[in-house]
Symmetry: C2
Subunit: 419 residues, 2 copies
C-alpha cells in the first residue's frame, strides 16, 4: 500500500500509469509523470534527486523528455524495472520508501494543479476493427444478416491507417465537422455532418519498434506493446458512408480522435489477462496464433451528458475489452507481417468495443440501430446520434482484490459547426 492516499482511486500503487503534464494555465513544455491517488509524481525530479535508477534505465534521460517516446522505446526490461523502482519509492515501509524523505515534497504535485497533454508524439495511428459483435452489427445494418461478416474478417485483424495529427487529449472539444454527404435521391452536398457518432475503443501504444522489412513475431509481440489508453474514435457516419468505397474511411474519421492522458502499462494489466476467443473455426494462420492468454478483462463504460437536456451523466454503454476477437499481439503481428516498421509512440486503436447485448454496444449507430431505435434517456431526452453540446465520457478499470487499475477518463464535447 502506498503512503499516498489512494484507496478507491483509479491510481493505486499497483497501477503506476505514465503521462505528460504541465502546470495548469501555462504553455510550459510537458514533463513526464506517474500518478498515485491524487498526486502527480514528476519523473525528471526523481531522476535529478537520484531516486529513479536501475540497470535498464540508463542515465534516466528518457524521463527528462517532453513525451514518452524514448521511454516507450526502451523495452520491457526497462518498463518493468521502472515499475518496481516507483513501487519501492512510494510503498509504505519499503526499503527505498520516500515517506520520510525531504525529497518527497519536491516531486509531488496535486493533480488539480496540472493539465495533461498527449502522452507521446504519435508517428502513425492505425485503427483496427477487432470486435466480432461490432463488425457483425454493422454488417447486418448495411449488408443484411447473411453477409454480415466480410470473407476476410475471421482470417485477419482488419485495420486501416488513420490520421495522427488529429489525435487529441481528453478534454479537447471538437467542432461538428462539415463534409461531403449525399442523401438518397439527391446530389452530393457540402453540409454539416448530421450523424456524429462516438466509438468506444482502447488505444494501444507501441513500445519497441521494428526495422522496415522485418516483421514482429507474435511470440515476442509483448516487447512492442507499451500500454493502453481509453479512446474515442469520433466518426461522421454520413461523410464516411459517401466517401469510403473503395479506399476506406477518410474525412469521416480524420477530424478528431480523443485519448485519455494516463498510459496504463501492459505489465499492470497482466493480472487481468484471460484466455482469448476460440479461433479454430476457421483456424487462424500460424503467424497470428496466440500461445498464451490474450484477452484483457477491462470493464468499460460510456456516459453521455448535455447541459440542456441530459444534466446528469447517463450510462449509455457498458462492456468489456475481453469480448474482442483479435488481440493486441495479433494486431502487431499482422501490422508488421509485410515488413511495415512500427515506431515507439505509434498508436493502434482496438476498433469499437461492442459486447453481445444492446446495452454493450460501443457506438450510437449500434445503440440506436442506424436511427431506427432512438435511445431513451432518463428525464425524457432522446438520442439517435450526437447533438451539439453532447459530452461523451469513457471510463474503464480492471477490478482486483481490494483495488482497481483505473484508466482515468476520456472526455470530449461536440461543439457547433464552425460558421
Amino acid at each position: 500500500m502506498s503512503f499516498i492516499p489512494s484507496a478507491d482511486s483509479d491510481f493505486p500503487i499497483q497501477n503506476i500509469p505514465v503521462g505528460v503534464y504541465r502546470a495548469k494555465g501555462t504553455n510550459n513544455p510537458g514533463k513526464l509523470a506517474t500518478r498515485i491517488g491524487d498526486k502527480v509524481v514528476d519523473l525528471a525530479t526523481l531522476v535529478e534527486l537520484g531516486h529513479l535508477k536501475g540497470t535498464h534505465l540508463s542515465d534516466g534521460s528518457a524521463f527528462k523528455q517532453s513525451t514518452l517516446n524514448a521511454f516507450m522505446g526502451m523495452g520491457k526490461a526497462a518498463w518493468s524495472e521502472f515499475r518496481s523502482v516507483i513501487s519501492g519509492l512510494f510503498t509504505e515501509g519499503s526499503a527505498t520508501s520516500l515517506q520520510n524523505s525531504d525529497d518527497l515534497a519536491k516531486c509531488l504535485i496535486d493533480a488539480s494543479e496540472v493539465e495533461m497533454l498527449l502522452p507521446a508524439s504519435i508517428g502513425d495511428y492505425t485503427d483496427f476493427y477487432a470486435s466480432r459483435y461490432h463488425a457483425t452489427n454493422l454488417g447486418i445494418m448495411f449488408r443484411g444478416v447473411d453477409n454480415a461478416l466480410q470473407p476476410n474478417w475471421l482470417h485477419l485483424p482488419v485495420g486501416y491507417h488513420g490520421r495522427s495529427s488529429s489525435v487529441v487529449v481528453s478534454g479537447t472539444n471538437l467542432h461538428r465537422p462539415r463534409g461531403q454527404t449525399k442523401a438518397e435521391d439527391a446530389p452530393p452536398a457540402h453540409t454539416p455532418c448530421r450523424l456524429v457518432d462516438f466509438e468506444l475503443e482502447l488505444g494501444i501504444f507501441v513500445g519497441k519498434g521494428n526495422d522496415l522489412g522485418h516483421p514482429v513475431d507474435i511470440k515476442t509481440a509483448d516487447e512492442h506493446i507499451f500500454g493502453f489508453v481509453l479512446m474515442n474514435d469520433w466518426s461522421a457516419r454520413d461523410i464516411q458512408k459517401w466517401e469510403y468505397v473503395p479506399l476506406g474511411p477518410f474525412g469521416g474519421k480524420n477530424w478528431g480522435t480523443s485519448i485519455s492522458p494516463w498510459v496504463i502499462m501492459r505489465e499492470a494489466l497482466e493480472p487481468f489477462m484471460q484466455n482469448g476467443p476460440d479461433q479454430s473455426d476457421p483456424q487462424v494462420l500460424p503467424y497470428l496464433q496466440e500461445q498464451q492468454p490474450s484477452a484483457y478483462n477491462i470493464d468499460l463504460k460510456v456516459h453521455l451528458q448535455n447541459e440542456t437536456d441530459i444534466k446528469e451523466p447517463q450510462l449509455i454503454s457498458h462492456t468489456n475489452y475481453n469480448t474482442m476477437y483479435w488481440s493486441p499481439r495479433q494486431m502487431i503481428a499482422h501490422h508488421s507481417v509485410t515488413g511495415c516498421n512500427m515506431r515507439p509512440g505509434d498508436l493502434m486503436g482496438s476498433g469499437t468495443i461492442s459486447g453481445p447485448e444492446p446495452a454493450n454496444y460501443g457506438s450510437m449507430i449500434e445503440l440506436c440501430w442506424k436511427g431506427t431505435k432512438p435511445l431513451q434517456l432518463a428525464g425524457g431526452a432522446e438520442r439517435k446520434f450526437l447533438k451539439d453540446g453532447d459530452e461523451v465520457v469513457i471510463t474503464g478499470a480492471c477490478h482486483g482484490d481490494g483495488y482497481r487499475i483505473g484508466f482515468g477518463e476520456c472526455r470530449g464535447r461536440i461543439l457547433p459547426v464552425v460558421e
Copy 2:
C-alpha cells in the same frame, strides 16, 4: 544563368530545389541544401556567412535544422524570398553574386560526395487516387466497363490515410513483402507477395499547417503547398485484394513508399501551369472549385532494369501530370474540409498517374492489364509484375525554353523476401 555549370541539368538556377544531405558514408545528422548543377549548396553555411537573409526569413534558424519542416511551415512569402536570394547569390553578374567571393568554396559540395536523406519528418502521409484514367482502368478490371468509376469519384478526390513510417528516400531497396493472400478456391495463406507493383505518383509536401477544426479554403490553398517530389507507391496487389474490403488498403501498401530527395518548390513550377480538366459534368461543389490554372505540365517517365535480364534501363511508362482530374489544391481543400489539421511536412500522394494510352499507364497492373498482356521488353525479357532484382526508376521534368526544371530521380529495387 548561373556561374555554376548547369546547362542540360535537372537543376539549373531556375529550379532551386531543397533537400537534406550528409557526407557519404557518415552517420551525421542531415543538413539542408539546395542544388545547382552538380553542386550541393549548404544552407546553414550560407546563413552563418550572412548571405541568406531576408524580411521573411527570420534569423535563418530554419535552415540550420536537420529537416525542412520549419522552413516548410514559414509560408509563401518566405519561400519566395528564399528563391530570390539564392538566385541572386548564384547568378552570373548579379549584385549579390558569390562568383568571386572567398565564401563560395565554403558552401559548395560535389553532389557525388553526399547522400540524400528524407527531406522532412513526415507526420502524416495521405494517398489520393486522382487520375481518372487510372481509376477507370482499375474499375474496368475489377467491376467491368459499366461500373468503372465509383459513384463518388467525380464528386470528391478519393483518398486514404497511408503509413508515414515506411516512406523512404530514393535508393532504399525493399524486401518483397509477405502477407496474407487468398487464391480463388483455396483458403487464405501466409505467403510471399506474388504481385509486387509500382505506382508512378507525385508526392506533395504540405507547407503551412491549419488548426484542427478550421478547413483550408481552396482559394488560399497554395499557401499550404510547399513543393513536389517523385513518388513510387509500392503495392502488393494480392495482399491488397484480400484485405481491402471494407476499410481500404493496409498491408498491401504499408511496406514502403519511395520519394525522390530534392523537393521542387511550387513556385518553380508556376511557369508550367495549365488549365485543369472540365469539371462541370458533374459540377464539382463550390468548396472544390478551382478559379485558376490547376494542372502542372510535368513530363514523367518510368524505367525498369534488372541485372539478370534487363541490363539496359527500359522505358515502360511515359505520361504527364497534367492528365490528372483532381488538383493539389483540391486535395488540400477536401482533406481539411472536415477540420482535419495538416502540418508542415505532411505528404500527400497524387495517386497513380496514368494517361489515356497504354504507353501512359503508371503501374504494372495496368501495363500488363492484370496479368493478361505481359509486357514485352527488348532482349526478350517479359514482365507481368515485378521480379526480385527489378529496379524501378522514375524521372520527371518540366521543359522550359532552353532549360528544364528536373526532379532528379526516385529509384528503388525489389530484394528477395526475408527468409
